[in-house]
């Protein structure tokens, strides 16, 4: 689209239904987090199936949403997003977290190698197993990955709260995104620190993923430790005010 200049777009805010708190752009106060897109830009929807759905199958809400999207400005799709069926948002997020110094090429390479190693290991097990066991062995690396990360997610977390001069570890419920983040972070830290110097990341990571898939291994242990600490500090729960 003949991209409208960002300045001209800034003053436009769409329907005032669900009036968004438009952030004031006062001359004296510049925001630290700002984006080249104005607040009225919406995120792009790259899924092909969303558009191919015939109109008859849409609910009222979806129809309204479609009409609404036609009047909005849309941001450009980022370089990591495509409409490919092979793209997985969890895998992309994990790759980004593994990335060091902006070396996306290496991170992605490691990720693909990990998934391949997982698949190979599972296939070896499959071929070595008897017919009954073969039914239970999961071979899809993506399901293993998702399940492993889900098994590593803590349900409750600890937060340092300052009260009367002392810091207490208070148990606190975690948001979904925080839980996913912690699972991935623990996995990556574990694989980076506790491995033999000569061992490569894909090998270690695949090993850890398989262990987490079976609810074993150090990452799941760490999650359980977190839960135990939270249970131990149950009495401090009322220090939380939100």
């Amino acid at each position: 689209m003949a991209a409208p200049s960002v300045k001209a777009v800034r003053g436009w805010s769409g329907l005032a239904l669900g009036v968004r708190g438009v952030v004031l752009r006062l001359p004296g106060l510049t925001q630290v987090r700002w984006s080249r897109y104005g607040p009225e830009f919406q995120d792009p929807q790259t899924d092909k199936e969303y558009y191919r759905k015939p109109t008859a199958q849409l609910t009222e809400e979806e129809k309204y949403e479609r009409e609404l999207r036609k009047t909005r400005f849309i941001k450009a799709a980022p370089a990591t997003k495509t409409s490919s069926v092979f793209e997985d948002p969890v895998v992309s997020k994990f790759t980004n977290m593994m990335m060091k110094g902006g070396n996306k090429v290496l991170a992605r390479h490691l990720m693909t190698q990990t998934l391949e190693t997982v698949k190979r290991k599972q296939f070896e097990k499959y071929h070595a197993a008897s017919a009954k066991e073969q039914a239970t062995i999961e071979r899809n690396p993506y399901t293993i990955f998702h399940q492993a990360l889900k098994n590593c997610e803590p349900v409750i977390g600890l937060v340092s709260i300052l009260k009367s001069g002392r810091f207490y570890q208070v148990p606190v419920p975690l948001a979904d995104r925080r839980r996913r983040f912690l699972a991935m972070k623990w996995m990556i830290t574990e694989c980076r620190e506790k491995k033999h110097r000569r061992m490569l990341m894909p090998e270690k990571l695949s090993h850890e993923l398989l262990q987490a898939f079976h609810n074993q291994g150090p990452v799941v242990k760490r999650k359980r430790d977190m839960h135990k600490m939270a249970e131990a500090n149950r009495a401090l729960a009322h220090y939380r005010w939100w």
Partner: protein
Amino acid sequence: MAAPCVFCGPAIASRFFLGGRVTLAQGQGIWKPAAAELQAGTRSQILRLKHLTVVKTKKNVAASRPEKYTVDFIKKQIEEFNIGKRHLANMMGEDPETFTQEDIDRAIVYLFPSGLFEKQARPSMKHPDYIFPKQSAIQWGEDGRPFHFLFYTGKQSYYSLMHEAYGKFLDAEKRQNQLQAKDLQMEKTKTKDPIVSRWLIKEELEGMLAEKLSDRDYTRFIQLVERFSTLQCGAAEEEFLRRFRRSVTIQSKKQLTERLQYDEQGRAFSTSEGKRKSAKAEVVVYEHGNGKIKVNGVDHLLYFPVTQDREQLMFPFHFLDRLGKHDVNCTVSGGGRSAQAGAIRLATARALCSFVTEDEVEWMRQAGLLTTDPRVRERKKPGQEGARRKFTWKKR
């Protein structure tokens, strides 16, 4: 004009009267009343003397309040402006009836060329509505009593509008309850299918009321007006509500579709450009082909060894289910490998618009394929190590 020293609050373009009176910009120092009297023009002089007296009395008062203008004063200014406009038209040898503001501006620039850098400091002649701030009409009479009964709220137009709107809302509700009691209510199907209009935004409302509003005020107003619109109301209420609606830019798909061109062999192709960061790409997409992509004369597999970049090249084709059906020839320069891939992606998406239906163009726009990515490298700031990173904090 007598007393710019009192008038200069906002930067106002100076007024320009004819008959030999040249006024300078208001930021340029105190215009001495004595010098003003030397100017010719009888009628204006009387006016100016009037101002002189006003100024003299106001000198004793703390002069930080914005100046208030009476309605008569503004009317007089408008009359003078119109007469001056006609004089100017005659001077320039043009027809006074069809002398527009642009003609006035051009005439002033011709008659009074100025080398000043600040555009607002140059001589100009504008309608009094643009010069005198809108809200400066004096809102109290000679006895000091304000005209409007809500004057002491501080935001009289806003509160009177809320009062009026709420009154109408209560009436409409009462009427609806009465109809409901009599079971005469017509089923209102107010599903807003096409989104054709929107409520005013805060800036527009402020302009309408000529008053500053807070975010909370604006939210309250929108909530009230939104509730009002959900009721069933008659024609008068609809008219009232329509004053606060503006039409939405009809579906920002002002995408320029490229023309289809034909080369010597009769093949149809379409060209377009795209850019991302500092990379610029120009792409030619042929209508019938095998899916070969040549970048700067080299196959895309060799030019983009990274999978992510190749995925970006394929994105528009995959989205439209046209993976092996077009041939692409492109030139790209500048930027890095990812930026070049993004530039080519944008250019191919734009080129494909000419082979595809309007609906699919809209889908591509909603998928973010047709927007130029405005993100560029943020500059490094002085006193910091990078764009965001600060220097290491040292206690001493």
